[in-house]
Symmetry: C2
Subunit: 176 residues, 2 copies
């Protein structure tokens, strides 16, 4: 049975430790968000599917009268995750950037608008780089999750590159 990529993000989150749905969401927001976002609308139905498929187990663990379901990987789930990660086949990297579409068609508007748009894009990526950097400063490196740190650094470098690129463009457009 085919699993969605989001399902594998869930399996990956549970590979580290048992988590609640809320916790999985928090994990994704704090780590995969910049290249794979997950919303509650997908998360909870997906957890049900993974449970039915026997890839995860559920355990009730309420705090007082606040309900809480802890999920953990089954051996089957562990295997499914390992198999999936082992596939090194090429897949497309999808980018959808509304501001870049506007920039692409911005010959239709005045130079000032174009420069402003480019400047805002630079700021957007600078902010994102800073947000990711703040994440990386907090926690010490874990040997068993070295790739988590690599990918975080990847995001910082990427958004720094993008911020620099748009800043240069904005400067050129301002002095045109």
């Amino acid at each position: 049975m085919e699993l969605s990529n989001t399902a594998y993000v869930i399996l990956g989150a549970l590979h580290e430790r048992a988590r609640s749905g809320y916790d999985i969401k928090a994990f994704a927001d704090a780590s995969t968000r910049h290249f794979w976002a997950v919303s509650y609308g997908q998360l909870y139905p997906e957890l049900k599917r993974l449970l039915d498929a026997g890839l995860i187990d559920a355990e009730d663990q309420p705090t007082g009268s606040r309900q809480r379901t802890l999920y953990r990987l089954t051996r089957l789930g562990e295997e499914a995750l390992a198999d999936w990660v082992s596939d090194t086949g090429t897949r497309p990297c999808e980018i959808r950037d509304e501001m870049l579409v506007r920039l692409f068609f911005s010959d239709a508007v005045e130079r000032e608008k174009r420069a402003e748009l480019a400047g805002n894009m630079a700021a957007r990526h600078r902010a994102q780089a800073n947000g990711l950097r703040k994440q990386s400063e907090g926690k010490p490196a874990h040997r068993e999750n070295a790739m988590h740190d690599e990918v975080l650094q990847f995001g910082i470098d990427l958004h720094e590159h993008l911020a620099d690129w748009y800043a240069r463009l904005a400067a050129r457009l301002e002095n045109e």
Copy 2:
């Protein structure tokens, strides 16, 4: 009435000149594809909506008995496009990269697999950079569409950056 971003890509394509649906798709594939892809499944229904909304005109222009509908912007469509491009407000840049998700969780597999994955990602972006470069080599610069060339160069630089980044990671993982 709210238009989708894809609708604006269509308006933008028609801003340059009148085009058929097929031609709009070819334009998008050759220019906006690397940051905003468009499929036939969206394109033709969207053309109908834009027609109903009065933002574009349709003219029948068959070649022999092969049907062909040429679309062009109305004044209303021209205004809608200019208004949309003039909005410099910040919008998120969405990235969804399945291979990067695998890389993120690849602590679960052997070093060789990790290195192979990173190497394949480097190759993927190198190929994409080369594809975009080929596009840019063909045609001479047009003053009235300067931003088209800027955004194309943006794509080349971006994928070159990504290819370099993953190549360095792959090298590090191989020598670990």
